[in-house]
């Protein structure tokens, strides 16, 4: 039961961060084109063009990168094909 409460709280926080990213996506594309960003509490904490560098910086500064939403911000010409 406590685990569920904790998980629900974490998911609500994560949802807020992703909602923020979604709403601010055009502005983020202008500010961080072709960069990886780490987001927490509706803020970009770190950005870098290299994913491994970003992860290593998060490890050094905060211990674990697992608590951050990590995303790639493409520029406006990017086309995603998966």
């Amino acid at each position: 039961m406590n685990e569920d409460k904790h998980l629900l709280k974490e998911l609500k926080a994560g949802t807020k961060d992703f909602e923020w990213l979604s709403k601010n996506y055009p502005a983020l594309q202008k500010k961080y084109p072709k960069q990886f960003i780490a987001v927490k509490n509706q803020q970009v904490i770190i950005s870098h063009k290299n994913l491994v560098t970003l992860i290593n910086t998060l490890k050094k500064k905060f211990g674990s990168p697992n608590d951050f939403l990590i995303d790639f911000v493409p520029d406006e010409n990017y086309i995603l094909v998966v």
Binding site: D4, L7, L8, E10, L11, K12, G14, T15, F18, E19, L21, S22, Y25, F36, L51, V52, I55, L58, S64, P65, N66, F68, L69, I70, D71, F72, P74, L80, V81, V82
Partner: protein, 135 residues
């Protein structure tokens, strides 16, 4: 039941908390809802954040082919957890998940396997800025 999604540009995403034992995974991951994908998979950027080393995963079960690239994949069992529209916690699993050795820019994918296994349909309306999975 309804699980609300998000747009990144025009692409539909949904947030899940992923839990697995081997390898140990406990992370919130935004998945691109990809009805063209047969499988649900965790992409490289999320694997690196979790601390998964591809070298420790053993032999890959195969590769995933897309239009853009081909990526090695490893099969695991895991559980997805999400908040419903009524802010209730729901668990989906155990289900087959794949670790995907993609490029860094590639997102994790929620494939048709999830929609089929748990009986969801995707509602996507870009004009109304509406995206959700409905059971």
């Amino acid at each position: 039941m309804r699980l609300n999604g998000f747009f990144k540009g025009t692409a539909p995403y949904i947030l899940f908390s992923v839990r697995a034992e081997k390898p140990k995974i406990l992370r919130q991951i935004p998945f691109l809802i990809d009805t063209g994908s047969d499988i649900t998979g965790i992409a490289m950027k999320d694997c690196l954040a979790i601390g998964i080393s591809f070298n420790s995963l053993g032999r890959p079960v195969g590769s995933i082919s897309g239009i853009k690239e081909k990526a090695r994949r490893w099969e695991i069992k895991g559980e997805l957890r999400a908040i419903t529209q009524e802010t209730k916690l729901e668990r989906f699993g155990p289900m087959k998940l794949f670790i995907l050795e993609t490029s860094g820019d590639c997102p994790s994918l929620l494939g048709r396997d999830f929609l089929e296994q748990f009986g969801f349909r995707l509602i996507y309306n870009i004009k109304r800025k509406e995206v959700y999975l409905e059971e």
